[in-house]
């Protein structure tokens, strides 16, 4: 073993270089000055953000768009706590991140030192794993383990809490010779032969099979396998919200996404199928009713997941296989026989025709029209990053996703303020592709300061703010379930977003009329550099279809109900 003369910070940076890190999204502070100093001598590019939450969302968008690990560097105390929302977001959606936080020196730990927070304790519930390093010689091993843990199995964020004295003292271990020590960590890959044949048998005789493809397909890179599998058994494919792109949404057998605001035809199919197989989805409460026994009660339920803790969590499947989606689908395809599904596919085609997604163009500028136009202008090829709320659901409905890693969305956590910074991260990861952030006026204002990051780095992102001057999704619930008693949702007093963009040195465009949508979006796409498009859409529009929270698919609303609705029970 060769002896190193690097200090902890330099060793850390070398480890990051070894891991293939291109970008670090970060914000400095007292506790991380040695690391920022070491970064000056590295080829890794530091992206200076404006707030730590923005840094984590950028790394998250980068990771989702590329499949690589996103890396964040922030300081101790408030720097670390500001990163927590981003960690929750990534953890809920299984996104690989390594988040490095500075910490007060080890001799100050637990003594309420300046900018001390118990980062290890606070973050524990929002990460896949975390570390507090108390010996500089542990840095190479822990960094190696962190990247391995973050990116393998069911991915997730890993946090490293790094006290300042540890980064300042010599690390005697050579960064290239680090050995991992993870006796408690194993990665499922192949399904067991017994589980495979048990599941394969259950397909026999199914007349109305349905595939539910989740984020796991995209993470595993199992798109081809999924397509082959769907073709072999003749099943239509619905996705989860995060599964958009797992199967081309414009394909004939594609049903779009299921759930509360999913397509009516996907939800109808869920209600009618006699077999449903979830691959890499966790039967989230936005796609299943509160009373799980009412979820396609007559269908055989099959579940493939890499995380054994997902089995029996929401529902007890008739058969399950623990393993990697790509490997398991390759195993399973050889064991299943083609099914006679032509009638079922006809029925599905009927639903797609009858319940097709649409919107009315008259009566003011509609968010759906703006999304539909950007879909057409970008030929469905853009990487779309969304925020959380009504616009998110409309984007999911009207921007069809044909390729994996092109749809970036905070699904599990539903983090407002995610969309725009995540788009910045995605653009760093895929600089030659069109990245569009579709955000609402509420969420955008939670992280709007990252406009500076987009401008300074001359990113080509197009930010579309669908501004209805309301927190529209909450207002919709108040209208439908709370006698239209709107409370805390009025955002009158929003800034002029065009002027805001201009004050950051960015091009700002405004859309006020339906007739201008195409022209202005074209202009935005033709412009080299970041553009903000302020679309002033109608104030009170609602997202349909809608399955009230916790209800079954037969309660799906296709349009505004005539009578008063009961308050949703059993789910948020």
């Amino acid at each position: 073993m060769t002896t190193s003369t690097k200090n902890g910070a330099q060793a850390l940076i070398q480890c990051l270089e070894n891991a293939g890190v291109e970008y670090i999204f970060g914000y400095p502070g007292g506790a991380v000055i040695p690391i920022f100093d070491a970064l000056l001598d590295s080829k890794i590019k530091l992206i200076l953000v404006r707030h730590e939450q923005g840094a984590v969302h950028m790394a998250d968008g980068y990771a989702r768009a590329t499949g690589k690990v996103g890396v964040v560097l922030v300081t101790s105390g408030p720097g670390a706590t500001n990163a927590i929302t981003g960690l929750l977001t990534a953890n809920m959606d299984s996104v690989p991140l390594v988040v490095i936080c500075g910490q007060v020196p080890t001799f100050g730990l637990g003594k309420d030192a300046f900018q001390e927070a118990d980062t290890f304790g606070i973050s524990a519930a929002t990460v896949k794993h975390n570390y507090l390093i108390k010996n500089s010689d542990d840095i190479p091993r822990i960094v190696k383990e962190s990247f391995y843990i973050a990116s393998t199995g069911r991915p997730g964020p890993v946090l490293i809490d790094l006290p300042k004295d540890i980064t300042s003292t010599i690390c005697t271990v050579n960064a290239n010779e680090a050995k991992m020590d993870l006796p408690g960590y194993s990665i499922p890959n192949e399904g067991s032969a017994k589980d495979i044949s048990k599941m394969a048998r259950l397909f026999r005789g199914s007349k109305r099979p349905l595939i539910l493809a989740g984020h796991g397909i995209i993470i595993s890179g199992a798109n081809e396998e999924l397509k082959n599998f769907a073709d072999k058994i003749g099943a239509p494919v619905a996705t989860t919200l995060l599964g958009k792109g797992a199967y081309p949404e414009s394909a004939e057998k594609a049903l779009g996404f299921v759930g509360m605001h999913g397509t009516a035809y996907a939800n109808k199919a869920v209600g009618r199928c006699d077999l449903i197989i979830s691959i890499g989805s966790r039967w989230d409460d936005r796609i299943t009713p509160a009373k799980i026994s009412e979820y396609c009660p007559d269908a055989i339920k099959l579940h493939i997941d890499i995380d054994p803790a997902e089995f029996n969590k929401v529902l007890v499947p008739d058969a399950s296989i623990c393993g990697d989606a790509k490997t398991v689908l390759r195993q399973l395809i050889g064991e299943v026989e083609p099914l006679e599904t032509s009638k079922w596919l006809e029925e599905i085609a009927g639903y797609k025709k009858k319940f097709n997604l649409n919107y009315k163009i008259h009566g003011g500028l509609k968010a759906q029209q703006v999304i539909d136009e950007i879909y057409k202008l970008t030929e469905g090829k853009a990487i779309v990053s969304v925020d959380v709320g009504q616009h998110q659901m409309w984007a999911a409905q009207f921007y069809k996703t044909d390729k994996p890693k092109n749809w970036i969305c905070s699904g599990g956590a539903g983090t407002m303020g995610f969309g725009m910074p995540a788009a910045i991260g995605a653009q760093f990861g895929r600089p030659d592709e069109t990245v569009v952030a579709i955000v609402g006026d509420g969420g955008f204002q939670m992280t709007l300061f990252e406009l500076a990051t987009a401008v300074i780095n001359k990113l080509n992102i197009k930010i579309i703010i669908l501004d209805n001057k309301y927190l529209g999704m909450v207002r919709q619930w108040q209208e439908l379930f709370f006698d239209n008693r709107t409370s805390g949702v009025d955002l009158e007093g929003n800034p002029d977003f065009v002027k805001l963009a201009e004050s950051y040195g960015m091009k700002g465009l405004r859309i006020k009329r339906a007739a201008d949508v195409n022209k202005i979006l074209k202009k935005a796409l033709d412009h080299q550099g970041p553009v903000l498009i302020h679309a002033e859409v109608v104030k009170e529009d609602n997202v349909f279809p809608m399955i009230p929270a916790g209800a079954t698919v037969d309660k799906m609303l296709l349009e505004a109900p005539k009578q008063k609705l009961e308050k949703p029970k059993g789910s948020t």
């Binding site: 519930a125 843990i149 006796p183 408690g184």
Partner: protein
Amino acid sequence: MSDKTNIHTISLLVANKPGVLMRITLVFSRRGYNIESLVVSPALDGKFSRMTITAQGNPAILDQIIKQCAKLIDVIHAEEHIGNNSVEKELALIKIETTSDKRTDILQLIEHFKGQTVDFNDNDLIVQVTGTTEKLDAMINMLKKYGIIELVRTGKVLMLRGREET
């Protein structure tokens, strides 16, 4: 007192590192689940620790809790043990009020349960007793009428019989 019929015993082999206990208790506390007893000590190989946790609750939810513990990076394995394939013991220290007229009765009771008097003076004594949770419960119940001043129990430890690893 808790409903003893629904108590589950979970044994875990974990890395002997700071923070492991916190990770495990978070899995319980996020669901508002209480841990009834918890014993942690280094395993034969000091790199690892053995944990025995007892908790009560719905078996399906506890099954989920065990799976979520098992997937923690620092947990080597986590399993619930039921039936006769394991030996389960705990130890209790019980401080009892003693007066000369009650002393003989108390000492006889201790003798019956194979307890050991580890501190003895005019007004009180401390008895140490080991055995199954049920035996300890029975003894404590019988001692109650003499006046228990203090009670400390270690919580249950468990080991599988034969060559199967706990």
